[in-house]
Amino acid sequence: MKTESVLEKILNAGHLAVTSECGPPRGSVPEKVREKAEMLRGYVDAINVTDNQTAMVRMSSLAACILIRQMGLDPILQMVTRDRNRLAMQSDILGAYAHGIDTMLCLSGDHPHFGDHPMAANVYDLDSIQLIQTVRDMRDNGTFQGGDKILNPPQMFIGAAANPFADPFELRVARLAKKAKAGVDFLQTQCIYNLEKFEKWMEGVCDRGLDEQVSILAGITPMKSAGMARYMKSKVPGMDVPDDLVKRMAGVAKDKQAEEGINIAIEAIERLKAVKGVRGFHIMAIEWEQRVPEIVERAGLYPRPQV
């Protein structure tokens, strides 16, 4: 074991892990964070807290993580390299660990172009792979990126994202290999709708033995409506929603579409449980956290093991 992270313990014990996410509010409203996190209590092992997702200003991931930690739950600190340089990111990592946050996710983040401050400076002092290296060196060598020693180095269980559906497909296994080389411990994937393509990517991952080095959690996002399916298909960069799935959603009455979306998510989990190298699930129910317990239960992932 490298850390005290609950997620690491779950994975280490050979259980399928379950994570979900909570997007902080667009205001100083701690109750909102607590409300969302409370819905997930007991149903997931850890809760990702997004960092200004889609480049919109929200309560900081670190602050929301602290609120969740104070509830006795286990947050995963998401950190994008878009908004802050290496000084700011490393100081936040020290602060997070000082508050008992021991699991994080290293991301590059969406370009400011997509958000509510397209006029903002675009920092990218580091990229996601360099952030992984930085956090690993902080933990394993006890040094800052600049080389100085750290007092009580933060012992972070290090995560990253992977999008098997972005282009060029032939590079997607190689990019994961780079993240593994950089020192990533676990990986959460982009929402999976095209199961065949995901399975093909996993084959490539396993052929290179990367599944032995990195714990891969498959990303699941239930669709609320046929409209959402169409939107994700056409408007979200790097998203692969097959036509038959859009048709299936559109084929049921409007008031039954949410149910159908949940069914599709559960079927996907059932199928992906059998895929070699899948070590758990990351359920991203966007502004739909209240449905996560039901998905976890119906997918046979409840109760969560105690470690």
């Binding site: 590059s108 172009h113 675009n122 580091l126 996601s128 360099q130 972005a166 590079l171 790097g238």
Partner: protein, 221 residues
């Protein structure tokens, strides 16, 4: 080359409206090649300004001079005979040229007539695109001759990110994904294995982050 585009007419007119006599200077280098501030553009702007002033019942005397190279003190010296007759200087050179004129003629207000854009290359007639950010530590030898610092929207050194779609960047279908270009080129060169070498965190001191930069060549001083 350094590229530029002319500022909006209203903004230029606003700057020079308090003056009656201006020295309008162009540059025969980069801004001539990108058709923003050479002899031709100086002539066009001069006429446009005079017409605009006339419409307001005012007159404007414009002396047009296009220097060989406005970022070079030696050539800026050529303005000396005409500077006293001008109330202000309007420069169509890049920011380097504007500053050289301001440095040389301390008592005259100097205004830019163009917005300096980027270091780029011509893609086809009328289209220029960014190629270099002058980071001071060139990585082109590792990235197939395509610069991720200048051409990836997130300047990431280990791309492509999850937003690359069909060879295009997530910010716009009009922007090529630099990492798709890098990968295609590495394949052409048979250097696929090189892709998995991690490019470590960059030392941005050689870039603008280390403060304003200078080059000192003792052999030439």
């Amino acid at each position: 080359m350094i590229t530029a585009v002319r500022k909006p007419m209203e903004e230029i007119i606003e700057c020079i409206s308090p003056f009656k006599r201006i020295l309008l200077i162009g540059c025969n280098e980069c801004v001539t090649v990108c058709a923003a501030g050479g002899r031709k553009e100086v002539a066009v702007l001069s006429s446009a300004l005079q017409i605009a002033f006339m419409k307001k019942g005012k007159t404007l005397e414009v002396k047009e001079i296009t220097l060989e190279r406005q970022c070079d003190p030696e050539y800026v010296e050529a303005l000396v005979p005409d500077i006293d007759r001008a109330d202000a200087v309007l420069s169509m050179a890049c920011g380097c040229g504007v500053q050289e004129a301001a440095r040389r003629f301390k008592s005259k207000p100097v205004f830019p007539a163009v917005n300096t854009q980027f270091m780029g290359a011509s893609e086809r007639p009328g289209v220029w695109a960014e190629r270099c950010q002058g980071c001071g530590d060139c990585v082109l030898g590792l990235t197939g001759g395509i610069c991720p610092v200048a051409r990836c929207s997130k300047r990431i050194l280990n791309g492509p990110c999850g937003g690359s779609t069909g060879g295009k960047c997530e910010i716009s279908p009009d922007v090529d994904c630099a990492w798709q270009l890098i990968w295609d080129r590495l394949k052409e060169l048979g250097l696929e294995a090189q892709y998995e070498d991690i490019l470590c965190a960059k030392d941005w001191r050689t870039s603008r982050d280390g403060g304003p930069r200078r080059i000192i060549r003792e052999d030439l001083e």
